[in-house]
Symmetry: C2
Subunit: 95 residues, 2 copies
């Protein structure tokens, strides 16, 4: 699953529905990780919050929201130049 491969314990949020990423988070916890981080930028930020909330409210009631950080990244545009995009990282921790 490509959303799992680039960094350990990390799920990169894209344009799929939140449940796709909930499943990725559950997979990582089931593999023995005690922390899983969701990373998103731009419009996917809302999906990241949805996925974190669905995970802890519906599927893993022992998972807590840990650190949440926001930031800004510069993105190179195909037509030249750069634009700024907001980012979020949400860490879910399981006892």
């Amino acid at each position: 699953m490509s959303s799992l491969s680039r960094e350990p314990n990390t799920v990169f949020i894209g344009r799929k529905p939140p449940m796709s990423y909930v499943l990725a988070v559950i997979t990582l916890f089931s593999a023995g990780n005690t922390e899983v981080t969701l990373k998103a930028r731009g419009q996917a930020i809302t999906t990241a919050v949805d996925a974190a909330e669905i995970t802890r409210r519906r599927f893993m009631k022992d998972a807590n929201i840990g650190k949440i950080t926001i930031g800004t990244e510069e993105i190179k545009q195909e037509e030249g130049g750069t634009r700024m995009v907001s980012t979020i990282e949400i860490t879910l921790a399981r006892e």
Copy 2:
């Protein structure tokens, strides 16, 4: 400005462009508040992150991101029933 009125020191993020809310945040800081909270739900979550980032990176370099919390609210639908929507609260603090 309706986005300022319901709670003190709080800007409610809706469907306007991020700069509308940046101006509301700056107005509250300029009035002497040392903390301002941005509240958003659903798709407006991304706009809240954009507004917080634009405020501290472009306009108020002495403002820091404080507490960030996410949650879920139940919304009553016009056609009956309820649906869940994710929420975010971002507090900006100025020294």
